[in-house]
Structures are given as C-alpha cells and as structure tokens.
C-alpha cells in the first residue's frame, strides 16, 4: 500500500473543472514533483492534499487514513509557500517553534527541536532575527524548518523557489533535496520550472489542463515523453513533420530525404503525416550515428558551454547543440551541412 494515495481526484470551481481524474500513488520517502504551466491544476492538487480545498470528487489517503473529514490543522502536513509566509511578528526561533507550541509540547522539547531544525538549515546564528531582517533565501529556509519542526507525515512545497534569484534557487533546491533525503520525508513539490523538477525529483507528474499527462522518473519524462505536450513542455525539442513512405520498413520522408525509424509505425499508411521529435543535444556534425539529414544553416548562436545551430530541413526548423571548443568554427548561415544522429533518438510523438 502506498503512503500517499490520490484516487480519482476531481475539483471544479463553479463550471470550470480544474482537476480531472487525477490518480497517483506516492511511496513513503519519495520526492514527487508536479510540473506544468500555470493553470494546469498542480497547485490545486497540492492544496487539496493540504486541506485548503475540498475535492469535488475522489479521495486522498495518507498512510491508509482517509483525509476527507480532516481539516488542514488536523492533517499533520508541513507546507512551504512561495511567498515564505513567515509570521512577521515572530523571530526565527518563534516561527519554527509555532507548530510545536500549538501542539502543546513541553518547553524543553520545543527548544531542543527548534535548535535541531535551525542546525539543519545552518541558521542557528539567526534565531533572534525577524523575517524582515533576512534575505529571501534565508526566509525560505526558515519556512522549511518551520514546516519540518512538528515532524509532519508529508511535506508540501508550493513553488518555494520561484520568488528567489537564480543562484539561490539552485543552491536551495539542492539543500531541500539533501534535507529531504536525510529525513526521508515524503515530499510533493509543485513547480513550473522543468529544470527544477528534473534535477531533484524521484518522479515527476507532468500536468496539463487538469490531467496528469505522464508520470515517470526524470529520465523517462525527458527521454520518452508520452504526449506532444510533455515533449514540448520538458526541455527543448524539435518537432519535425514527416510523411510516411513505407509503413512496413518504418521509413519516412522529411522534405525530400528518406530515413528509417527505429520505432514501428505499422499502424500508419503510406502518405500519412506524423510528428517526430528530436532533442537538440542528440544531433551532431561529426561522423556519428546511423542517420543523416542535410540542411541549410539559418543561424548559429554562442551560448557559452554550447553552440546552438538552427537548420532548415525541408519545411522544418531543427536546432541542435554542440559543445563549445575554442578550435571550433561556428557554422555560417547559408552553409549546407549534414546533421547526424542515431535513429533511436528520433521519437514518434503520438497525441
């Protein structure tokens, strides 16, 4: 039996259904990210787990216990908000102690636990500070300590990094993951940032228009996107329109060039159009892979560690990345080059 089970969850606000048939089982100690654009329902699912929103249908079970009748203050869940939401009238110590005080723990135990939490986030020296005296990153670490102090069964993170600047965002996400592993706490993380989701999750749920489009490990999500939406939302992806040449031989035509696919397309007929996807990093100009496409260079941009080149192949624009090398000459616009990759990198996207 999984630890946190969302069974056929539904939520409507008036006539608008924002969450549809959401099913998911989360194991104890797992770190799961809900990834999707704004308005996809990811935050609503999180708020239903927290008890801030009542599901219109379906059930939420934590450790075998139905949460339906429990209010949010009875669920023993920790939550970190995008806006930090530290209590402005309390210093760091009192903020972290709040949940323990509400639970009526003895004073000595509270002090010990708060100090333990402050050590965990390495802010023991700021115990007397008020929220307005700290940076955003420090405030969010305090918010994390506050959420963890009462030993919650589940930790919910609602876009906790979105309000922070880029450097802090990366260091804090690593810190969150490390603390989560150390405590082994079941965690649900909501984000619209695919890089964040890919870098810290055990599993990712890609949400689109209230549904879970795909649930899988970061590598599954990235390398084997199940739908066109997942493919376009996670990472940069070239979408290439192709025409089926011979379904039995898995050959397709891109512009006037014929190539063979690894994946079977036997269900298609000759002349059908299909969508293919190719990651920019799969392509290369040097002799590698079993497939080649000729194209005219449209532009080439220097991005630091990589050089991204755009090619016109038939009616498609295809980008590919090369690692930077001081000796490299960048492809010039107008030049005709041959893009090489292995047929296995070319995905057939089914809607």
């Amino acid at each position: 039996m999984s630890f946190l089970v969302l069974d056929n969850l539904q939520k409507s606000f008036g006539p608008v259904q924002v969450v549809k048939d959401f099913n998911m089982s989360i194991e104890k100690g797992e770190f799961v990210s809900f990834l999707g654009p704004s308005g996809c329902g990811k935050t609503t699912v999180l708020r239903m787990i927290a008890g801030f929103e009542m599901p219109s249908g379906g059930t939420i079970t934590i450790d075998g216990e139905d949460q339906d009748r429990l209010k949010s203050n009875q669920r023993n869940i920790g939550m970190v908000f995008q806006a930090y939401a530290l209590f402005p009238n309390m210093n760091v110590f009192d903020n972290v102690a709040f949940g323990l005080k509400v639970a009526g723990k003895p004073k000595a135990e509270i002090t010990e636990r708060v100090n333990e939490m402050l050590a965990l986030i390495r802010l023991e020296h700021l115990a007397d500070r008020y929220p307005y005296q700290m940076s955003g990153g420090q405030q969010q670490r305090v918010a994390l300590a506050r959420a963890l102090a009462p030993k919650p069964r589940v930790l919910l993170l609602d876009e906790p990094l979105s309000a922070l600047d880029a450097k802090i965002r990366i260091s804090l996400r690593e810190e969150i993951r490390q603390i989560q592993r150390q405590l082994g706490i079941t965690t649900v993380f909501v984000t619209h940032d695919q890089e964040e989701a890919l870098s810290i999750s055990d599993r990712i749920v890609v949400m689109n228009a209230g549904r879970a489009d795909q649930i899988g490990t970061p590598s599954e999500i990235y390398n084997r996107p199940a739908t066109r939406f997942v493919a376009s939302f996670v990472g940069t992806l070239n979408m290439i329109d192709a025409v089926v040449a011979d379904p039995a031989a898995n050959t397709v035509r891109i512009g006037d060039q014929l190539i063979a696919l690894k994946e079977a397309i036997a269900e298609k007929k000759g002349g059908d159009t299909i969508s293919l996807a190719l990651r920019p990093e799969a392509g290369s100009l040097v002799d590698s892979g079993d497939t080649a496409l000729r194209g005219e260079v449209l532009s080439s941009s220097f991005l630091g560690s990589v050089i991204r080149t755009k090619l016109a192949i038939g009616s498609n624009t295809v980008s590919f990345d090369m690692f930077n090398d001081p000796d490299l000459t960048m492809p010039a616009p107008g030049e005709v080059v041959t893009l090489r990759f292995s047929a296995g990198d070319l995905l057939v996207v089914r809607d």
Partner: protein, 263 residues
Amino acid sequence: MSIGARIIGWGVLIFGLLYFFVPLGGLFEFSLKARRGVYSLDAYSRVWADPQFQATFGYSVMMALATIVIGIVIVVPTAFWVRLKMPWARPYVEFMTLLPLVIPAIVIVFGYIRLYNTSSFLPLTGSVLGTNVLLAFGYTVLALPYMYRAVDTGLRTIDVATLTEAAQILGAGWFTILSRIILPNVVPAVLSGAFLTFAIVIGEFTLAALLDRPAFGPYLQRIGANKAYEPFALSVIAFGITWGCLALIQLVSRFSKAAPARF
C-alpha cells in the same frame, strides 16, 4: 512658484492658523482669569479638586477602555473574516460601519431605550451594570467607523490568506490564528483605532446623558451651564486630552513604519 502665489499660500495658512488658534487663545486666556486682575490657575485647581470631575473622568476612562476591548473583539475577527472568506461582502460591511456617522446618537439611544427598557425582553436599563453594558455597546457603535477602517487598513499590510494557511497547516485553530498571528500584526492599526475611540468616548454627551450615567460629557455640560471660569478650564483640559490622543496616534503610526509591515 511665483512670488504672488507664495504670498497667497502663506496668507491662507496664516488665516487658517489664526482662525483656529485665536478663539482657543481667548478661551485659554479667559480660563486663567478666575482671580480678579491677575492670571492664575485657580479655575484649574478647582476643577482638579472637584470630586465629581475625578469621578466622571475616571468613569469615562473606564468606559473608553471597555469600549476599546469590545471594539477589538468585534472588529478584528469581522474584518479578518471579510478579507479572508467574504471579500464580496466588503462594501456592505463598510456601509454598515459608516452608518453611525449618518444616524444621530440620539436616534440610537432612543432605539436602545425602547428595545431594552425595564419591561422589554432584555431589561438592560433596569440595573446599573446593564446600563453600563448598554452604554459601552453604544460607544462601540459610535466608534465603529474609525475602528473598522483602521483595522481593515492594518490587515491590508499583511498577506492575511497565506499567513492564515501557514498557521492552519501547522495545526493552529481560529482562536490561535486570530490572537497569535493576526492581532499582533495589526497592533499599530488597532491602537490608532483605539485612541480615536478613546477621544470619542471621553467627549460623548448624548448617550451618557440619556442613559443617565455619570460620564465626563454630561459633567462638562453641567459645569458649563452653572459656572463661569471652570468650563473653560475644563475645555482646555479636554483639548489637551484629545491632542494627546492624536499625538499618540502619530507616534504609533511612525513606530509602525519602522516595524515589520512587510515580510
């Protein structure tokens, strides 16, 4: 700015100041004239020595404090709830809180006397304690526009919804949220509402007179009708108290700007 405009500006300011301060100066000067031929504080010492002054002033201060407590208990949860759960109700609640400015106190007190007289279902006017309670609630109504506005403005400076959710998920119930999170964060606003309430209650005449309670307002009126110099000394004292309240509000609002309004 041209010279002419500047002169007109100063002229208007000086006229305004004179308009305000000359009568006040006259009042103050007259209050010092209790002894013939010389300035003295006789009128003030007589007022201070009057046991009735002490009794009524003390009574009004107690009533003001009670009014402030009732006001906080009614207004803070209401303003909080309207902001959190019923934002659509805000215009209606604001309209209701403004009614005391439109409806004269005399109408309110006659309504009270009709509703709560000794032969009614709740004979509050039948006992001293009951009448005091009625008076305190009446004062609360009079102070409602100021209290509500002050508290509502205070709530605007904090993220009520998120702070409430943060407290809820940590296990807090409504009472804890209100007393430990919301109230402490709107203290400056509550204080400024409280001082305005204090100033209103100290000077109020109609409610106290018609409910026949020994408050400061009716005492002021009685002295004014019977004595020559004392009412002017009393007026100066009343001014002093009101200005003291305003100064306190200023102080508090300045203090609140330095305090953590944002998070």
